[in-house]
């Protein structure tokens, strides 16, 4: 049986009158030691999916199985790195990590806990900033504190919710390398949610597309058969990389266009506007169509996303 598993999970928000169906029929299996990336549009329900995996939200239907337990509540064994870092602003870097360490390892001595906390602050290269408050840190540093806090709990699975989404490209690249290094060193099970297919392919063993909402669902999982650790500079030239990228993006685009339909409706407009100059000019370019008034347009076709 898989280590972390979703079976037929559906989720929506709001009462029946103002309902948004967010996720529908999600099936997912993650094995121990695997790095799975889920790629999807923003607003499609990625954070909702992650909250369900972390146990913060209970799915409206379907099952979450984790390490043999049926739909367990949240806990430190599923370490979630929040999309917006969620550091406690009144605590320093060290204290934010220590809060987690003190809670998860109550049996260790004070000295051991201090040492453990320091180790994880050092792991994300934040020892020089250990006594700073979050508002004194850059976005990338805050994200690293958030990662350190979660890793320090030594979770069985690491859940990363668009961890690098708010960062600039250079910081993002550095942190991608850090995540990759930590993951390989600790043989950590990781679920990464991202809106960047390149990031997913760079880091993951398997990429799963999440279609656009409402009623977003997971597509087929696409294995990334490239050796780890991967080098972003050579990766982009690799034929396999391009192939996988094509497959992921192609699936997302296709799934989205299926959602699109067209709506036609008749328009009744008063005949008070002048002739449309833009249409008039067509005459000079050989179409021969006479100029027309906007009020002559009797129907309108718009593309809508459902």
């Amino acid at each position: 049986m898989a280590f972390l598993q979703l079976q037929g999970v559906s989720m929506g928000y709001g009462p029946a009158s103002r309902r948004t169906e967010v996720l529908a029929d999600i099936d997912l299996e993650i094995e121990e030691g695997e790095f799975v990336a889920i790629v999807g549009y923003s607003g499609s329900g990625k954070t909702t999916l992650m909250s369900i995996l972390a146990g913060l939200l209970r799915p409206e239907s379907g099952k979450v199985l984790f390490d043999g337990q049926d739909t367990p509540g949240p806990g430190p064994d599923r370490g979630l790195v929040f999309q917006n870092y969620s550091l406690l602003p009144w605590l320093t870097v060290y204290e934010n990590v220590a809060l987690a360490v003190d809670q998860v390892f109550p049996k260790l001595s004070d000295a051991e806990r201090r040492q453990h906390t320091d180790r994880f602050v050092a792991m994300v290269n934040l020892t020089p900033a250990r006594d700073k408050r979050p508002h004194e840190l850059s976005g990338g540093m805050r994200q690293r504190v958030s990662v350190a806090r979660t890793l320090s709990m030594q979770p069985k699975v690491l859940l990363l919710d668009e961890p690098l989404g708010a960062l600039d490209a250079l910081t993002r690249a550095t942190l991608q390398d850090e995540i990759s290094r930590i993951r390989l060193a600790e043989k950590q099970t990781v679920v990464l949610i991202t809106n960047d297919p390149d990031e997913a392919i760079l880091l993951a063993d398997r990429v799963i597309p999440l279609t656009a909402g409402p009623r977003a669902t997971l597509g087929p999982s696409i294995p990334v058969i490239l050796p780890q650790p991967r080098d972003r500079r050579t990766l982009h030239q690799s034929y396999d990389f391009k192939q996988i990228r094509q497959e992921v993006i192609g699936y997302l685009l296709k799934a989205t266009s299926r959602h699109r339909t067209t709506l036609s409706r008749s328009l009744v407009l008063p005949d008070v506007e002048p002739e449309d100059i833009t249409h008039h000019s067509q005459r000079f370019f050989g179409s021969g169509r006479r100029a027309r008034r906007p009020s002559e347009l009797k129907t309108e076709t718009v593309e809508v996303e459902l």
Partner: protein
């Protein structure tokens, strides 16, 4: 040349305002308001109280700082009661919609009641309890009841405004209820709580004057009322200035504290 003057604006302009009011006061006392002592007379009669601020010649004849300290002492006690009761009530309101539904209407009705109305109730309420100073207890009751509301309401708003993410952090860490309260909820609410504390202190200081007047307790307000009843009008203005100045200083002190917690 012009810029030279602008540099002293911060002191010159307020002084100008003061002179204007003094002038208005002087003219009023010599024209349409015959009973109002003019500034010079007021100062002359107030001198003993100001120049010997710690003097004590009788229960209601003491130096002005001595009176202020007496009033402040009473305010401190009433204010402490208000905070000790108001903060937990605010937390309950913020945490529990049921609690809010039960008590919010009552709070909304009690909140606008004037201290002048609470004080007689306090006197009646504690009249049968032996071994207490009834006027002091009634005054404390009034101060606490009137000044509690900003603390209650701001704390409740602060608790409701705690970001869900902070609570989710507590859930992922499996913090106990007690630890969630002390390590996450209280720190997250502190800025709101301190805004409430500052407003409450302002009200407590407003109420003290009324409470002292009604009970005749020694203090700035009691002194003011006694002098008025004795037809000695010179010290009324001294008392008003003292009350205003003290209130201003208290408010400044509280905003300094409040700002420290805002950045947290």
């Amino acid at each position: 040349m012009k810029n030279q003057w602008h540099r002293f604006d911060f002191i010159l302009l307020p002084v100008l305002g003061g002179i204007f009011i003094l002038l208005l006061w002087h003219i009023s006392s010599h024209t349409w308001s015959g009973d109002l002592p003019d500034p010079a007379k007021t100062w002359h009669e107030s001198k003993p109280y100001v120049l010997d601020p710690w003097g004590k010649r009788g229960e209601l004849d003491q130096g002005i700082l001595r009176f202020t300290l007496l009033s402040l002492g009473l305010v401190a006690k009433g204010y402490a009661i208000a905070l000790i009761l108001g903060t937990p009530i605010g937390f309950c309101l913020g945490l529990s919609p049921t609690f809010t539904k039960i008590f919010d209407p009552i709070i909304q009705i009690l909140r606008p009641v004037s201290p002048l109305a609470w004080l007689p109730l306090g006197m009646v309420l504690f009249a049968k309890i032996k071994g207490i100073n009834i006027t002091e207890i009634a005054a404390l009751f009034t101060i606490a009841l009137c000044s509690m509301w900003p603390t209650v309401l701001n704390t409740a708003v602060g608790v409701r405004a705690i970001p869900t993410d902070y609570l989710n952090v507590a859930r992922v860490l499996k913090l106990s209820r007690w630890k969630t309260l002390t390590r996450v909820m209280i720190p997250a609410t502190l800025p709101y709580m301190f805004t409430g504390f500052r407003l409450s202190l302002g009200i407590a200081w407003l109420v003290i004057v009324a409470a002292e007047m009604l009970t005749g307790r020694p203090g700035v307000g009691g002194f003011l009322w006694q002098q008025y009843n004795a037809l000695v009008y010179e010290q009324i203005i001294l008392c008003i200035l003292t009350i205003g100045g003290t209130g201003f200083i208290l408010d400044r002190l509280m905003s300094v504290i409040e700002r420290r917690f805002k950045t947290a």
